[in-house]
Each structure stands twice: as C-alpha cells, then as structure tokens.
Symmetry: D3
Subunit: 233 residues, 6 copies
C-alpha cells in the first residue's frame, strides 16, 4: 500500500486505520508526504519565538515518523514545499519511479477537489499522473511498468463540499488503538484528535446502517476512483 | 442473492455470470421477474399466427426457467404486465415480504434511468423501495426486518446513455459456458447473444486494464448503489 | 412534429420558431396541450368579474388556436387540469395512441425539472412514457408501434435553474414574424412578449458565437434527450 | 417558518437550532410531521410487551410536542403512516392550504434523495408540490396564493450519500441549550443525541473555516433549493 | 469587496450593480483586472488604422477607470496579457498579497468553466488559489493571513453552457443608473449594453418569482462557491 | 475537418468512419497527432531487439500515414513526446496557427477526462485552447481569426468511465471498408481491430434504436462540446 499525503499529517487523520489494518495483515505500507505542511498547517509551532522553517520541518518529520511507526508503516518526505505545493515533472517522475520499485497493490491519496485547501488537489493530480506513467497502457510499453494498482481517495475534512462520495467503508474497530496512538503523535493538533475520533464513530454508524453489524465501532470512508475487479459478488 | 428483473430475459444478458459464480460458490440465487416482457420484448413470438398473450407468457416462463436452471438459480415471475410495467403498493409489499423471508446478501436490479425503456426504472424504484421497507431504519423496527443487503445495479443496454458508471467488474471467465447456455435458452433473440458475448469480452478488456491480469477473458460490470464495508483494503 | 405543452401557451414562448420553420418546409406540426393552464397561468382573465373556469378555458383555447394557426400548426387540448396537472395511465395511452397515428419525426416537450412549476415535469414524464410505449423496444413488439422520433426539450423560463443545457440552437430569423404573431395572440401576457423577444435575440447572440454567422438575429434553444443519427459530420 | 418532517423526530436532529433562533427573534415556527415514524423509527417503544401502534403514536406525539415547545414552536401531525409514507393529492392539498393560511417566509424539509430512507424523499416531493401550488406562477392565479417562501432542505443523516451539498451554515451557538433540551425530549434515541451534538460541533468547525470566527461552537447545515434575493452582497 | 476580472470590461457587465450597492452602503470596492483584454476583446479599437497594443491598453484602462468611478470603486490592472491569459506563481502571490492587505469581506470573479473563453477559467483558478494562500488553513499559519472572505462567481455570458447555477440574486434596482453609466463608459461595445440591460430585467423577473416582490426591476445573479454563515434563517 | 490525436493511432479506432465520410463527400480532413505514442502505446515494437525510439516513431508515422491515406486524409505529427505528453504554449500556438490557416468546419479530439490515460486529457485541453485562440471572442479581435468550428470529442476506450455521453451517432456503414483498411494498417494491435469492429456494430445497434433504420450496420459515437446551429428541426 502506498499513501501519498500532501502534508505530513494528512495520512493520520484520514487513513491511519486502513494503513494499520494493511500492516496487521502482513502487508507493507509506505507513506510519502509531498510536503511537511510547514507553512500552512503548523501554526502552533510558529507560535514559538525564534521558530524556523527548518525546525518546523524537523519536528513535523519526527511526528509523522512516530505516527507511521505506530501504524507499522514507513514514512518519507519529498519536501516540495506547501501553500502552495508544486509538483513539477521531475517530482512526478520520482513518484512514478518509486511506484515502479514498490509496485503497490493499493494507492491512496486526496480527492481531486477541495475548495478549502490549495495543495490537496495538487497531490491528487500528481499521484494520478505518476500512477498512469507507472502502469502504461497495459500493453507492453517502451518503459518499465508496474502492475496497475487499486486507486482510492480518502475522506477530506468537509466531504460534502469536496464532491467526495464514499464507496467503501473500512471497519477499523480492531486497530482503533493504533489510530489513536498515531493521532497522539501529532503534537499540537489536539482539536483534530477529537474531531476525527468522533468522525470514526459516525462513519461506523453509517457502516452499521449498510451491514446491520453492531460490532463496527469505528470506520473510515474511501472513494474508489476506478472500478475494482472481484471473482464473485 | 436476489435478482429483480423487469422482464423475464433481462437477468440473462446482464447478470448471468455473477449469478452462476454465486451458485458455484454454494450460494442460493433467486430471480424474480416483475413481468414477462410479453408485449414489448417478445416480437419474434408475436410473428407466429394466432399467437396469444397467455402463450407468449408460457413460452417466456419456460425459457427463463431453463436459463435460470443453467445458472443454478430459481426463477419466479410476478406477472405484473409490461409496456408499461406498474408495481403498486401491494406488489412492493410482496417483494418486501419475499426479501424478509429470503434475506439476501446481495440484491441486483436495473439502474434508475433508461431513456430507451419505460419499465427498467420502475423495477429499480420498486426494488429499492422494497429493500428499504425490509431493512427498516436499522434500529429495531415495529415490523419484521431482514439484515441490510448489498445493493448493485447491472449494466443496461446503452450504459453511457443511462448514467451507468461501473464500480465493480466481476470476472466471469470460469462460468462463461453457463452464461452461453443461459443465453442459448432465450429462443428468439439471436442477435443479443453475440452482442452480449462481445460485451463480456470488452468488459474483460476493461478489467484487464485495471488489474493487469491477462487471464480475465469475460467480465460483467455492476454499479454499487450504496457503499460496501470491508475489513481491510 | 409533435409538441406537447403542459399549458396552452407554453409552446408559443419556447418553440414557436421551430414549429413555424417545420411547417414552412412542408412539415406537419401538431400541438397537444395537456391542460389550459386555466388555474395557474390565467391570472389576467380571473381579474374579470364573474369569470368562470369554463370561460377561461374557452378563451385560452381560442388564443392557442390562433397562435397555432399563425405557425401553420394544429392545436388540440386534452383538458386534464392544471396546478396540479395529473396525467393518468389512460391519458398516457391517449397520447401514445396519438403518436402511433401521427408518427412524428420530432417530439418536443418541457424539461424534466422545474423548481418553479409543478406541471412542466409532469408533461415531460408523460411524453417520455408515451413515446417509449409507442416505439417499443425496437424489436417487433406485441402491439402497434411507430418509428422512434427525435426527442428534444425546449427552453424553460429559468434555464440555469432547471438543469437545462442547450445542445442545439435553431435559427428562427426567417420566421420571427410568425413567432411575434403567435405571441400577439396570447392576449394578456404582454410582459412575456418582450421577455421572449429579447430572449430570442440573446440566443441568436449565442448562436452567432458558435457559428460566426452575423445574419442570425433570433434563435431558440433546445436540448436533445437522446442522440441523433447523422450520415456525416 | 414552516418545517415539514417525514417522521415526528426528524426536525429535532436536523433543524432544532434554526427553529429556536427563528422563534427567539420573534418569528413563528410551525412543525408539521407527515407521520409519527411509528413503524420504522420507534423500535425502542416496540420492545415493550403489549405495545400498540396507537400508543406508539401517542408517545411520539407527546415527545415531539415537548421538543417543539422547547424550541418555541408548535407541533402538528398529519398521521399519514410511515414505511412507506404515502402523501396523496388530498394530503398535498391540506399542506398547500396550511401554507396559504400560514404564509411562511421560510420552508424547511428533507432533501429529495436518501438511499437509506423510503419516506424522506416523499416528504420533499410533497412539500415542494404544496409550495408550488401555494405560490402559483406568481402572476395572479385563479386560486388563493401566498407569497413565495425561501425553500431549504436540512442535513440528512449521511449527507454525502444523499447528494446534500450545504450552501448555508446557521450558527446555533446561542440556542444550543434549546437544541439539547429538544433532543432530550426524544426518549429512546440516546445514541442520536451524542451523534448530533458532535455533528453540530463539526459543522461549527466548517463554519469557522469559512468565516474565521472562533466564537461559533455549534452549527447546522442547510441547502437552498432556490436562490434567495438580497439587497447587497 | 474585491472583484477580479480577466479583462478590463468584465466587471461592468456582470457585477456593476453589486459593486455600486456595496459602495453605496459605505463599503470599499477594488477591481483588479488581470489583463486589458487588449487582443481578444478590443476588436473595435483595432479597426482604427495605426492602432497599437499600448494604445489599446491605454484606452481600455481609461474606460475601466471611468466605469469603476461611476460605481464608487477603484480600478487597477495587472497587465498580464490576454488570449491567452497566463497567471504565473509570482502573479498569484501579488494577488494574495493584495488580499492580505485589503482583507476583503467578499471576493467576486468568473466561474471556473467557459467553453467560449480561454481566459475566464484562468482568472477563477488564480483567484481561488490566491484566496486560499491568503486565508491559510484557518489555524494560525506560518505566514501572514487575512480572514476568509465570502467567495462568489458572477454570471458568465452563456450561463447554461458554463455550468453556472445562480444561488443568489442581488436586487440592483436602486443603482441601475450607476450600472448604465458604467456600461456607457465602455465605448465600443454598444450591443452588450442592451444585452446586459435586458439581462438585468430578466434576472429581476426571476427574482420576482422567488420573492413575489414587484418592485424588483433589475437584478444580477451570482453563485456562491462556498457556503456562507448566517445567524438565523 | 481537423482531427487532433494524442498518439498516432487514436484517430483510427475512434473516428476513421467519420473522417472517411467527410472526405467521400468532398471535404478535406487533416489529422494532427501530438505524439507518436512511441513510449506508452508501442509495446509490440519494443519487443524487437535493438529497437530505438527513432525507429518506433518512423514505423508509427508510416502506419498512421497509410491509415490516413485509406481515409482520404492527410497526416502530420507534432512529435511532442508521450507518457507524459506536454503541450507548451508554443505548441498550442502552432496548433492555433494551423487552425487559422486551415479554418476547419469541424474539430474532433479526445474527451477531457480519462482515468486510464495521462495524455488524452492533455490533447483535449490543448485543442480547446487553440480553438479558442483561433476564433477569438467573435468580435473582430486584435489578431487573425478563423470562423468558429463545430467541436466534438470522439469515443474513448471506456466511455462510461470517462464521463463520455454520446450526443450524435454517425452511420459509417458506407465506409466501413475504409475503416477496416485503416485499422489493418495499424500493424501490431490485432486485438483492437476486433474490439473496434465489434464496437462499431454495437453503436450501430444503438443508432438503430434511436432511428428504427435497420440498414445501419456500423456507427461511431461522438459528443458535442458546444451546441450546433440548425436551420430547422
């Protein structure tokens, strides 16, 4: 599983449960953060006198690494800058090359629309582009390819204002403790911890509605971008 | 698995493979046809001199039963009339009662839009209504309920003109012989046999594109109406 | 050409030009009005003391007939009542029977959505239903059919609030005098005359934008509901 | 303000704050419930031995009345039955007549789509129909009219699965105690109390995002169905 | 209020009324034009023999300034070139910096889609980007921010072909004389003066439909991109 | 007629019939390929030992030229590279200049969305941009213009996953032999020949559904991006 995050904390709030389930089942999960969110989403750190961008990045890197470790995943940052995030051709190529090496079964990233964030759609576009450059036209291509991966986007902060329509709920009840631990690692953003804990409870309510299974207590929502293939319904 | 078909032949062209896979794996499949399509879709039979509506229905019932048997499924008809199909409250109740008794895991029917067919959207509406009356609000209700089922629509004849966007492909390669046998049972409609055989090949091409797996030779396309819940990605 | 109008004046404002062009070129045009709009859209007439519903209908019939005549078309009314308009199965059958007899090449009616009018979407639904019952599944059916017709909706009063997206502009410059004459026949609704005269000018501006042809001075906008077939682009 | 609720509890979870603000400012609010939700949404009551439908309705009426009183509003029920709710022409007429008498400035009801509830879209359709029959075509009509009202839908339980896109947030911080009191009156549904309390917090977070105003602690979300008119931006 | 216009005349046709109302009420309005429309929309000027691009810009600047003055607003041009308009990162930064300084309550610009104009969507994208870079994630950010503004797009020339759905009408009756004066300042484009005068009348008709208020004689239409927050309905 | 193809083979599968009809009727058709698809869609060629990019391009050019000749059209390649295709401002200008010189009546290209191909949307964007820069604002502009052309997109490989909704079917029965010949010229891609031959049969089935004309045996589907103008319905 490959998770592409615009800023270094995004994967925690939106996909920590799905990541932890994947690694619990023996899968490998790599988190690639395009930026640290050092300018736009690190306000608490900037309140400290004498703060520098380099130090903010260092702290954010450490936090994200701790969170990733709690989920059994690895974390790496491309440090491309935020607010605005720019992903040039070379960076897309790096991402594509990483996909060819890693050959993920599943790729997760942000939705393509967010009227509240300038960087999330950029992450979507770069990830989709890299994924298509990786798989080619699925005829043998004139370059190295990897098998096509499942491609999903995780839930944005205001889903109904971002065109996000969930198509699959993941029952994260068994790994909710891991998600809590990962959220705990995100130092400053206390409010988001309760927000996303409550949100996991709401999505579980929705998942109970579609299954009738009362044992689902926490869930995460995802939207598939391309159909998946199954061997039976 | 419960399949609700507007006319007695619809389930064959669009979902025979998924049905056959379900029964091959030990599942039970019931096909409920709301009408026989005796007026609008039995033109060949009406060319016979002296043809009567009762006889058309009899022939259509026999054909559909043969096809269902080939798929390991049972067939029953509600005989509500076609062109136009009307499903009144009592008929919705019968369908809901059937769902409560059968408690299907998966319900399949037509999409809610078809600018070329007056009856297909009626089948969708009746099926959705019956399904909701069956599951209640998923709090204990003042009537008998069944657990919520997965709910998908199968591919219409002109998908891009019916708002159909596939979200899942089913690899029907292992049971394509069954689908061919079921299509063979549909006496008159020779042209549709080659149409849907070719279509299964095209959908397999699409399924290969999203998986890279060359062994998929035939596939069927479905669209989930409500999200499903999984234990991991 | 068959034009199905919810109320007896609708065809004038939205399609008079297309009707006049059709009859000018030797075609036959029949206008069927489902109601007279006697309650909801005849406010001026109701201001007259002692007014009765029967008299309102009589006046509206005469006005519509005069307008139709100006366009070279015939007018007939089904008198089904307005605000709300109800089209029951028998009325749909009458409409379908009329289509089978008349076998129109083109059918025009209202769009399927109008948050400002309760009757326009009813007219759409009835027309679409009758049209599908007329053409059958385009295999020989167990009932009398007519060849499928082109199917378009005309421009509603507030297009961008009704989901109306024009797909074809008709250059009505050569018959604008006929449209003016037809509008003149609609006694009371003076304001609408200038509104729709200006509107025809605006649509001509749009039609000039897509063709560069300065001689288009008035136009009407339509949206095709189903694709048309051409012998070349 | 007129609030049309499919079941007798809906107005509490989704619009209690907006109602309380309206009455606090001197406005009058009437809540009309089309049914009691006696079959589909009263599971807790049905667990009591010897329970009857009449008694369930009695209890639900009392609860809703208490809740309405806490919000400064009146409550009335049309008792049309639920699961499924049917609103026939006579009931639409009663609703339209009520609108003509009351002449509300604002009408609130459910969205037009809900894949989890058979009755909510019925409430939307009936309310929209009644509203259009009330206002006529805004030319003087042949029947009694009331001035057009603002028309909004409140947030459904799973907004992103119901096509709900909020267009206005109401800051309900000043009346959150009233909403809590109204929710308290809804005897059995403890879980929903925390769900909607948390939801009010989340919507406040979204409202803070679009205003920057930290004093918003609770909010409700609505979607306008038709544009509103303002005297300046 | 900040109005971002792709070419120097756009603000006049689509938002002059809203601007004049804002300044009449004591607000400050700044109009920023990204280009002069010197190549694509100044055809009349280019008919003069010996015309130069510099002179066209000079004339267009003077016209826009006169129009802005008539509306009580200031006008400035970024002179980025048109057909095509390119807004690079530095220009987005200038726009963002201007927003931080000015801290507008309301931002107006073009919609994000226009199949008839290459520059209007570019203006949308740049404005949205600058706005998001200005407000940050609404947690204290590592850069200077301004409070989030209301964000609306004005009506394009062919609204129903640009995906434009009005969500708010502004009654510009009291300042229509100002809009006429501003339009008068736009030397060459006589045809557009009558087009947009008529359009204001049509939008007033729509605004009367949703309010029943006959005194609205001219209106402008806008679409909110993000929800607004109100203290009561 | 101008056809803009992302890779050198695209025009054959999707538009060969429409091209052949156009030239059969005396029209001129130019095919401009932005790249050769030398990396992403030439897998068969890359299987040859010692293959080089230059040689792949040479072979692809020859194949495309043979195909174009079979259709009576000319072929030219801009050789901008594929996977990813980049069309910079200079390339858009070349395309616009070509449009000004050629002044096509009809422009065909790819749809704007393709979740399976990184280059097709790029071709759409470049073509639309060039087309708008060619026609200007349809007032006399400060640069050389050509009259506005009809603008359509051809069918992508998976239409229902690309947002493609056909609005016009072209009956290519009379020129199907030309299309077969053109497809034959595309050396390696045998599978696509049967795929698109079957597809032409399916689209003919759809075209028969909307016309009732049994003589249509092969068809191609297109979607108009902007309305067309007709002199009568």
């Amino acid at each position: 599983m490959l998770v592409v995050s615009a800023h270094s904390a995004d994967f925690v709030w939106r996909a920590a449960g799905a990541i932890a389930l994947h690694t619990r089942d023996g899968g490998e999960a790599r988190i690639v953060s395009l930026s640290y969110g050092e300018r736009g989403e690190s306000g608490e750190l900037w309140k400290q006198p004498g703060q520098t961008e380099e130090n903010v990045k260092r702290v954010r890197h450490a936090e994200a690494e701790t969170a990733a470790t709690a989920l059994g995943a690895s974390f790496e940052a491309m440090d491309l800058g935020d607010y605005p995030l720019h992903v040039d051709d070379a960076a897309v190529d790096r991402l594509a090359e990483l996909m060819r090496d890693f050959a993920p079964d599943v790729v997760l990233t942000h939705p393509d629309k967010d009227p509240f964030n300038p960087d999330h759609p950029v992450a979507y576009t770069a990830t989709q582009q890299a994924r298509l450059l990786t798989s080619g036209a699925v005829v043998s291509a004139g370059f190295r390819t990897a098998p096509p991966s499942e491609f999903l986007v995780f839930e944005p902060h205001q889903p109904d204002l971002c065109g996000f329509v969930p198509t699959v709920f993941v029952d994260i009840t068994p790994v909710m403790d891991r998600k809590l631990e990962a959220m705990e690692a995100m130092g400053a953003q206390q409010y988001l911890r309760s927000y996303y804990t409550e949100r996991a409870g709401h999505r579980a309510n929705h998942a109970r509605k579609v299954t009738g299974r009362p044992e689902i207590r926490q869930a995460e929502a995802f939207q598939r971008i391309i159909p998946n293939v199954v061997s039976a319904l």
